[in-house]
């Protein structure tokens, strides 16, 4: 059995790559020389010093961004390997331009011990397509009754810093307070799935015009906003870091804006689907549009975009939630919540934010790489360093993206084991051409490189 806890496999031995003429963050074209896992040279001069054995990639017309970082991915392994595995999920991530993903804790067994988080971390290293950062459960078994061994997970080889009961809300105010306090000891952050459980008992769709029309139990915005407001106040009270998962309502954006104006340590994410889709789509009861939190209204979408543009919402996170066909090929009410998203995230963000003029490519890099890396504590020291600027000396984690491409999303072509993409049949801009993880290509010409 190979020991995967040792030094990084053979990245130092990778042949160098010279990337020619990529537009760094959508700006001026430059060359990038990748060698020894790092960006050895960046700028117009790089071509002059082509080392022996270097491979050349013509990136004319492509945009270079730092490798994307997802704070919210469901890889389903262990337990639901029929929906996704670390192998297939990280393949999907690489194809989407990601070099690091945070694997949510709601696996079976739950990632609530050092043993499980280390297992997931090692599976990620073995797959070798992107860094897998396990998220630890806040409470044992996600049961919401007592704290999991957060310190043991933090001290494990997986070095967990983000903790979440995602899928369930830590609704007990005392438990949430203690969790926020406790993780201060190791610079952790609690990522909250904000959903007041009593207000959302049996909830199926956004409470509003559609829930009334369709006769489906409503998921009111206040159930999210009330928890966010409470948690912001708790984080301020104990001086800790709160991260709000998948913000979905206009009111949530307002509360987070207010909390940030106080200087409190509150960060937030929004999913690509909440930036692009509205609850009109549920009219035919197709469960591919069933997600938690639910798709909201056009006014919410506008507020989320504005919040992401002005930085109130720090980052985009996919909430990639693969499900097997039979979990969606059913009545709406019994269908699983969740959508895949890794392979469409950057394209959806281009459609929602760039084509609309709300963000430039430097802004996209900030919201999809730099800031999520900071929130996930991947900006410090150690091998798993992400969100770094595309300059000489940075780890060679980057994505080359063709913003001029445009085609119809076909989930059958996805590397994810599951097909529940809400963008199926939609035309989206963009194409991930290549992804590099510490100088090694994981994707070339839009296909897996290994």
């Amino acid at each position: 059995m190979t020991d995967w806890s040792g030094p990084w496999p053979a990245e130092q031995d990778q042949p160098p790559w010279l990337i020619r003429g990529a537009r760094l963050l959508g700006g001026a074209a430059a060359d990038l020389l990748l060698a020894g896992g790092l960006i050895a040279e960046a700028g117009p001069a790089a071509a002059g010093s082509l080392p022996a054995g270097a491979q050349v990639l013509d990136a004319t017309g492509l945009i270079a961004l730092p490798g994307l970082v997802d704070l919210h991915t469901h890889l389903r392994e262990p337990g639901r390997e029929d929906a996704e595995t670390v192998e297939t999920g990280t393949a999907a991530a690489a194809l989407g331009g990601f070099t690091a993903v945070h694997a949510m804790a709601n696996t079976d067994p739950v990632a609530d011990t050092a043993g499980v988080v280390e297992q997931i971390w090692r599976l990620g290293r073995r797959a070798g397509r992107c860094d897998v950062r396990p998220v630890g459960a806040v409470t044992t078994g996600l049961a919401g009754s007592r704290l999991a061994e957060l310190g043991a997970m933090a001290d494990s080889a997986a070095r967990v810093r983000v903790f979440s009961d995602d899928g369930r809300c830590v609704s007990d105010a005392v438990l949430m307070r203690r969790a926020l306090e406790y993780v201060k000891a190791f610079d952790g952050v609690i990522a909250q799935h904000a959903q007041e459980p009593r207000l959302t008992d049996g909830a199926q769709v956004n409470e509003g015009e559609m829930s009334g029309r369709l006769g489906l139990a409503g998921w009111p915005a206040v159930a999210e906003e009330a928890i966010i407001a409470r948690d912001c106040l708790l984080a301020a009270h104990v001086g800790s870091a709160l991260h709000v998962c998948h913000v979905s309502t206009a009111g949530s954006v307002e509360i987070i804006r207010w909390a940030k104006s106080k200087g409190w340590r509150v960060t937030a994410e929004v999913t690509p689907h909440h930036l692009l889709l509205t609850d009109d789509l549920v009219a035919d009861y197709d469960p591919v549009y069933k997600v938690n939190p639910p798709l909201r209204t056009a006014a919410d979408v506008a507020a989320l975009r504005a919040g992401l543009a002005d930085g109130t919402i720090d980052c985009v996170a996919t909430d990639h939630a693969p499900h097997p066909v039979e979990a969606k090929e059913t009545e709406w009410q019994v269908a699983a919540f969740g959508m895949t998203g890794l392979e469409t995230a950057l394209r959806a963000v281009q459609e929602a934010m760039v084509e609309t003029g709300l963000l430039d490519w430097a802004g996209v890099a900030d919201r999809m790489s730099v800031r999520p890396a900071v929130i996930g504590r991947l900006d410090g020291v150690g091998a798993e360093l992400h969100g770094c600027p595309l300059v000489t000396g940075s780890p060679a984690n980057l994505v080359l993206y063709d913003p001029a491409a445009r085609d119809v999303v076909d989930p059958a072509a996805h590397a994810s084991r599951s097909r529940n993409s809400p963008f199926a049949g939609m035309t989206l801009p963009g194409r991930v051409v290549a992804t590099f993880l510490r100088g090694t290509p994981t994707v070339l010409d839009g296909k897996l490189a290994r």
């Binding site: 009334g212 409503g218 009861y285 059913t330």
Partner: protein, 307 residues
């Protein structure tokens, strides 16, 4: 007409009137010594019932049999559903058996939409969750027209648990299509939050609504609402939103009282009101058979059938 009847919104004004007129003709037949028509001979109608509803199932069964269709009753209890078969697999099974129409009753809103994607035959919604019950709305409209002679401009008060009521949703849509004016009367807890966008008026005050109503339709209060803080007590609900003889006296002389059944006597409707001459509750049941005959006839046999 559409191939399916899933929502009252599927029906244009002409479609709805055609169903009501056809039902009227078919109703005449009920008085004849032989009540059977050969129209749907050789066609198969499946009653796929995931929820107990004896009255709706036998109404559809009687309707199909009077049109000479073969009827298969498939109920969730004692079938493969109890073993966890999916709706899709059940649909494919019915398809393989050659069902020309599937009448579906299901506790999940939208189940008929899903079913329609998996079978070639016509899907008739016999009630899906809190979504719709279009044949109930049709039989209600049929009953109103028979009693009051028109639908255009009729003022209909629908009273009670609108939030969870498929009957209310279908009636609001159909009555709007047919030119009636609907007022929903309920405690605020039992109205959808966005009810303001519905094509009807809304009131919290039953006493104020009654003097203007030509029709008052009482909705059943489900047992499970009674302990979920929608209202403080059953007694208080009954006092504020129940129809008793004092309130009945507030109605105009000609007004009728409807209930889709089954009733909670003493809760939303007092026994003497339910049994009064103004009550159409028993008529609604017999009208249901005629209306469902018309729906099956028009969906399955209408074009090629001999009258």
């Amino acid at each position: 007409m559409n191939r399916h009847l899933i929502s009252a919104a599927d029906l244009s004004r002409d479609d709805a009137l055609l169903i009501l007129d056809t039902a009227e003709e078919l109703a005449q037949m009920a008085d004849r010594p032989i009540r059977k028509l050969p129209t749907l001979r050789g066609r198969t109608v499946v009653n796929l019932f995931y929820e107990d509803s004896t009255r709706t199932r036998i109404s559809f069964e009687a309707a199909a049999k009077r049109l000479s269709a073969d009827v298969i009753n498939f109920s969730a209890k004692g079938s493969s559903v109890a073993k966890g078969e999916s709706l899709k697999d059940t649909a494919l099974t019915l398809e393989a058996m050659g069902a020309d129409a599937v009448v579906i009753r299901h506790s999940a809103s939208g189940a008929p939409h899903r079913l329609a994607g998996w079978v070639r035959g016509s899907v008739v919604n016999a009630g899906d969750g809190a979504h719709e019950h279009p044949t109930q709305a049709l039989l209600d409209a049929f009953t109103m027209r028979r009693r009051l002679g028109r639908l255009e401009g009729l003022r209909v008060a629908i009273v009670g648990d609108v939030l969870h009521s498929r009957v209310a949703r279908s009636n609001v849509r159909l009555l709007r299509t047919l030119g009636a004016e609907v007022m929903l009367v309920a405690p605020p807890t039992l109205l959808p939050v966005a009810v303001g966008g519905w094509p009807c008026e809304v009131s919290y005050d039953l006493d104020a609504a009654l003097p203007k109503a030509d029709v008052v339709m009482m909705l059943r209060v489900q047992q499970e609402r009674m302990n979920a803080a929608y209202f403080p007590t059953v007694r208080e609900y009954s006092r504020r939103y129940g129809l008793d003889s004092r309130r009945m006296a507030l109605l105009p002389e000609h007004a009728i009282i409807m209930h889709p059944g089954p009733m909670n006597r003493g809760v939303e409707i007092a026994a003497d009101v339910a049994d009064s001459v103004r009550s159409t509750i028993v008529e609604q049941v017999s009208n249901g058979v005629s209306v469902r005959m018309a729906v099956l006839y028009l969906l399955l046999g209408g074009s090629e059938a001999q009258r």
